[in-house]
């Protein structure tokens, strides 16, 4: 309770620091102090080359990264709340893979990124995400109650299958093989200005929609039946939340490919800092997710310079051990309590 205001402020500071780091590192190092001074309006002191790198390359990329992180963080928070599963996450549940497969197929089939002036890729990805999430949910539910580990197992299976299909498509595509493969690992591509604007707009809209689910998500902490007795139309709420998390994941994947584990790590860190209340958890997970992706992208550009890693590789390197710790803690708890 008491840590909410300071917690949110701390996460905001972390996101800003990660953004400064993300725009200052790279092949041409721009000192952070210079970036801050430029952001404060002292643009005259910045060399023209640096100014161009900032405005044309790094800021758009950082904005994309921040949006992707926020989308994934909130999507993870929603899935964990909706499924009452601490291990739920768009990447592990195959939602990201579904979105990625849909985008890969659309690109290879020659679908233009913009249809009638509308950025089509997030919609394609949204459809793929929704189908994958529905598949996982019904696979896991086929055996009655929704068990924490059964759901993750179903997700991993669906994810592996869909990823394999996407890779098959990539392979069959011939010359673009490597490019698509790197994207499938989760990489912040240079997007067109218009695509970034669309992504930012979807992010803002998605955050607002997610925030408007806070009451129902909070009631769901107590279980579906209790939530229903508190007046939450649980089936309708679940449908809304499934669609919303698919939309958020789809927009993130359309922008940067399937970046893993952000949706797992961000809500967990935030719950430790601000508690489980979704009124705070939703904006906190957005900030934390943004910070994680920006940080991962900065690391990805530094460790193998002058080349660069896909950011998804870095988040997975962080997320894998994190997942294991959570899984072991969960196993210990279920072993003792149930």
């Amino acid at each position: 309770m008491s840590g909410r205001g300071p917690g949110l402020a701390g996460l905001a500071v972390a996101a800003v620091l990660a953004a400064v780091l993300a725009v200052s590192v790279g092949p041409a190092g721009i000192p952070a102090a210079e970036v801050v001074r430029w952001a404060g309006g002292g643009g005259a002191s910045l060399p023209e080359a640096h100014r161009l790198i900032l405005t044309e390359v790094r800021l758009p990329r950082a904005l994309t990264g921040a949006c992707v992180g926020a989308l994934l963080g909130v999507s993870g928070a929603i899935l964990q709340g909706l499924l009452r599963n601490p291990l739920a996450e768009p990447y592990l549940l195959g939602v990201s893979s579904g979105a990625a497969l849909a985008v890969t197929a659309a690109v290879l089939l020659g679908l233009p990124a913009f249809v009638l002036g509308i950025y089509a890729m997030p919609l394609v990805a949204f459809a793929g995400a929704l189908v994958a999430l529905a598949a996982v949910y019904f696979l896991a539910r086929a055996r009655g109650r929704l068990q924490v580990t059964t759901l993750i197992l179903a997700g991993v299976v669906v994810s592996a299958f869909l990823s394999a299909v996407a890779m098959l498509f990539a392979f069959l595509s011939g010359p673009r093989y490597l490019e698509i493969l790197a994207w499938l690992m989760g990489r912040l591509e240079p997007l067109t200005a218009s695509a970034i604007e669309w992504t930012a707009a979807i992010t803002v809209l998605g955050m607002a929609l997610a925030w408007a689910q806070a009451r129902d998500l909070n009631a769901l902490i107590l279980g579906e039946e209790v939530a229903e007795s508190l007046g939450v139309g649980v089936e309708a709420a679940k449908r809304r939340l499934f669609i919303l998390s698919s939309l958020l994941t789809g927009a993130a994947v359309a922008a940067a490919g399937p970046i893993g584990f952000v949706g797992l790590i961000a809500p967990h860190i935030c719950r430790l800092i601000t508690g489980p209340d979704h009124r705070v958890l939703v904006p906190a997970s957005a900030l934390c997710g943004a910070a994680i992706v920006l940080f991962a992208d900065a690391v990805a550009r530094v460790v193998v310079a002058p080349s660069e890693l896909p950011a998804g590789v870095v988040t997975s390197l962080l997320g894998g051990p994190f997942f294991l710790v959570l899984l072991m803690r969960h196993a210990r708890m279920t072993g003792r309590v149930r």
Partner: protein, 273 residues
Amino acid sequence: MAAVCGRPMISCRGLSAGYGAHSVLHRVSFALRSGTVTGILGPNGSGKSTLLRCLARLLPPSAGSVEFDGTDLFRDLAPRAAARRIALVPQEEAPAHALTVREVVELGRTPHIGRFGWLHRRDRIAAGHAMREMDIHRAAERLLDELSGGERKRAVVARALAQEAGVLLLDEPTAHLDVRHALDLLGLLRRLARRGRTVVIASHEFWQLARGCDRLLLLDRGRLAADGTPRRVLGSRACARAFGVRIRRGQGLTFDIPGRRVQSDRRMSNVKT
């Protein structure tokens, strides 16, 4: 509250319900008045929880109807509207995350607040009032998992009170409670009824129902087998049939399993609340 005292708040007419092809309740009819504590008694599997779920608008009837104050609960009341009128205290609940008592009780305001979940002053007042009423306000900032079973139960009842619903349904409210805490809770429920609430307790603990209730409904394999004062229902032949035990009426209530005396509640009924 006094004005509505005695009005039928919840009534079932020919209520049948079940799960898919498995029907549990068969044509149950009764009406519950405000200001009373009613016990739903029956052996395991007799349909107590199913009946409670129907009254809580969680399980739609397969036939018949449930009415709240003259309105059809399932046809004419939206979930949120129903939750402002009827509160349920489930037997067990396991929050997915560690919540403080205050957070749990404030969730009782869910049917009163907007979708962003922000509480107004009157929501905080209602939650605070509910916590004081259940004497759990001193533990408001503690985590639910740190509390004893009795305190946890009081926190959950406080959440139901924060709902400000006129009807309070409790499923096995005294399970996991020792006799002292069970008696405290029963006393509290009585006080709530005296102030105009309609309280319904589903349980299979004879002595508690005998002590805590004005009226008992006996369920036997999904049918309403007896309906009346605790003394009458517990002493009825229907009750003996339902449970397969003989019940003798004396100073207190004595329960015999044929051939063996198991429990006398005479001492228990002398415990002062």
